[in-house]
Every structure is written in C-alpha cells, then in structure tokens.
Subunit: 127 residues, 4 copies
C-alpha cells in the first residue's frame, strides 16, 4: 500500500508522511483506524524503524494521527481536515514556483496547461 523510492531526492520520512496522508485522504485509512506498527512497516519497507518513527512523529505533531505507547498509532479524528490545512500551506510553494517560472519566460498558458495535465492524470484517484 505504501510505496517508497529510496533514491528519490525527497527524504524517505517525508515520502512516508505523504503516503499515509494519501491513504487517509483516499479513505483507505479512516478515523481511529490503527496504523501498521512501526516495526511492521520497518520490515515491510526495509527501512530503519527510526525513519518510520520520524514520519509518525511528524504526523502526530500535526494532529493527523495520535500515538500511544504500548497500544499503537491511530488516525486522529479530524485527520482529513488537518491534512487539507497543511496542503493549503503548500499552496505558497506553488505560488513561489509559478512566479519564478513565469518571471523566467515560461508563458502563463504553459504553466496552466502543465497544472491541468497533472490533475487530469490523477483524476480517477479523487472520485
């Protein structure tokens, strides 16, 4: 269910965070569902437990999951809402990137077309 590219420039722990967010947004993981244990994921993905731990800690601090010692990790109540809030922050990154590209000579139409294509490729995932 969780796919990690160990050679990506994106840190592994960040990929894990995003994969779990994706599973929650996609409805695969629902509120109060228990997540796979850190050790379990660690084995399944052949990734060091500390790295999984780091990802879970970030999700916990963001209020997307909550962890309890001895019991496990669970999807928090307003997880989807929290994820959307975090994403809204990332819109600023999109703004910055678009501005840079535009200022460097890429036409607005090209940018809009690029975004549209990115969305359409994944349209099936949203419904």
């Amino acid at each position: 269910m969780i796919l990690i590219d160990k050679f990506s420039a994106k840190p592994i722990y960040e990929q894990i965070v995003e994969e779990i967010e994706r599973l929650i947004v996609g409805g695969v993981l629902k509120e109060k569902d228990q997540l796979p244990s850190i050790r379990e994921l660690s084995v399944a993905l052949s990734i060091n437990p500390n790295t999984i731990q780091k990802a879970f800690t970030e999700l916990d601090q963001a209020g997307i999951i909550f962890s309890t010692r001895g019991r496990g990790c669970f999807v928090a109540e307003n997880a989807k809402e929290k994820i959307r809030q975090r994403m809204t922050l990332k819109l600023q990154v999109l703004t910055d990137l678009a501005r840079e590209l535009f200022c460097s000579g890429i036409e607005e139409e090209v940018l809009l077309e690029t975004v549209k294509k990115a969305c359409d490729e994944n349209h099936f995932q949203k419904g």
Copy 2:
C-alpha cells in the same frame, strides 16, 4: 542589482543563479556582457566567494555563461535559450507539486487560480 535573502530557505548559490538568469532574461545582461567578478560580488553581497563560485560554475555548466581564466565571466551566446531549457526541466517540479496537492484534496480550480494569480502579480516584470 542582485538581491539575496540570507534567511531564505533557498540556498544562497541557487538564489544567485536565479538572480543572474533573471537579469539575462530581463535584458539587463546581454550576450557577451561581462559579469561582475567573483571577488566583487563577494564583497558587495558579503557572501563567501566559494558560494559565488558555485553559482558561476553551475551557470557555466549549463552553458548560460562562460568563464575564461584571468579575464572573467561572460554571458554566453544562446543564454536566453539555455535558460528557457532549464526552466522546462523545472516544469516537472511543478507537475509533481500540482499532482501532490490535487491528490490531497485541493481542487483543480484552486490550483489554476493560484498559478494565475502568481503570474498576474508579476506581469509587469515580463513585458
């Protein structure tokens, strides 16, 4: 002419690269124009010469400027074209970011609107 934000998350050498690209695209620096020397920039911006060097090396490798030992650095002949090529590569980053945001529940319209706004804010800079 070159503005650097030392507190930005973006690496300084990358900011320098982008600033110079901006000056070339904007026509301030034309083909075969000489760039300010590394020492000069280093003092003017109070930035470590190695950092400037790294930026120049990147521009050189991309074929946007060329360096001649002892005489300095100059804008390459097809600089603008080369810059556009590099930008096209960055479109892939835009694609990835847009896809992630879309998959996490941000509507396509919001994304397009964000890009459009980013472009319009800088419209005057392009003409």
Copy 3:
C-alpha cells in the same frame, strides 16, 4: 463505575489507579470493601489483565489496597489518608508546571484563574 479512555495519552494502568482512588475518596468503596477481581475488570473493561494487575500492584504498594492470595483485593484501613499523601506528592508536579508556565510569560493571575475554574467545574463532585 470505572471509566477508561483507551485513546487518552495517560497510561491505562494510571487511569485505573485514579479511578479506584476516586471511588474510595468519593465513598463508593469503603474500608475493607472488596474490589472487583482482576479477571472481572479485565473482561468488563476489555483490558489486558496485566494492565489491571499493574494498577493493583501500585495501589497495594501505596498501602491503599491490600491483596490476599486467593481471596482478592480489599480497600485498606487508612486508604483515604494514603491517597491524600500521594496527592501531596503530586503537588510538586503542579509546582513545576506552574513555574514553567510563569517563567514563560503567563501571568500569575491567569494561572490562578485556570486552577480556580478547574476546581469550580468539579465542585459538585466533591461534596
């Protein structure tokens, strides 16, 4: 009679300890009264027997209950007094927390008001 929040950050065994203390202080459980058996509680609360055991052990060591092999656990003679003693220890925790908040810029009035409100909300429970 005993309510446990399995999703609370507070360890379950600690919740059990506090719930039993509450029942004793509130007079529901009187001196020499027999406590429900570990197995019984385990089933009723769907909690691991080891966890109940741990809570009982703690109460036993504090002299609040006493266990007799084969017959069960009973409220000790000076249970209420012992509970008050334990609580006094927790006042140190209150001191530390208050000090930290105060040193970080929260006004003394705000702290006092917070404590007062916490007490008043539960006033009915005390009488």
Copy 4:
C-alpha cells in the same frame, strides 16, 4: 547558560527546548540572533548531536527558530509570541492536573497557594 538534568524524567530534548524558550523569553536570545551550533552544544553539554537536532527541529517546526543548512540556526521573528501560544496550550495540562488533585480531596485553597508560591519564587526572573 543551558542547564540539563540527564537523570530527570523529562526527556533531554524537551529540556533543551524549554531552556532555549526560556532564554528567548528572558531576552538573552533576541530575534534573528544565531543560536550556538548543534555540534557546539553537543560538546558543551556532552549530549549526542542527534538529541540536540531533535530539539532544534521541534523549535523550527513550531516557528520559534529557523534553521538553514550551512549557515546555522536563528531565532525567528515572532518567537516570543509563538512561545506564548505554545504555553497557552499547556494551560490545558494545568487544568487537568488541578482538576484531578481537587477531585482527590486537595482543597482549592491549597492548590491556589501552591501555584502562587511557585510564581513568587521565580518572580525576579520575569521583570
């Protein structure tokens, strides 16, 4: 300037966070001031760099400091305000603790007196 008790029940990284917050609130560290480097602190406190890193990461995520690779860590612009916000969250902990103590038979007056004493002991630190 930073004091750590390695035998405290409170995690080391959390102590570091609180010590730095204290230095900022106390005015010893001002906005945009550079913090001691991770390795430096690591040596000075004989604590593993990863532990310092964890503390800094938490402060960074909370917007109290910002870290940039190769340059160092700096106090963020609204650091004091951010710290106060975090403290306000901790008032909930105070509420919970006060309620528990009150429900277990500690008189409201004793609680208020305890808080007052904790504040007065540190009064000089605030002015």
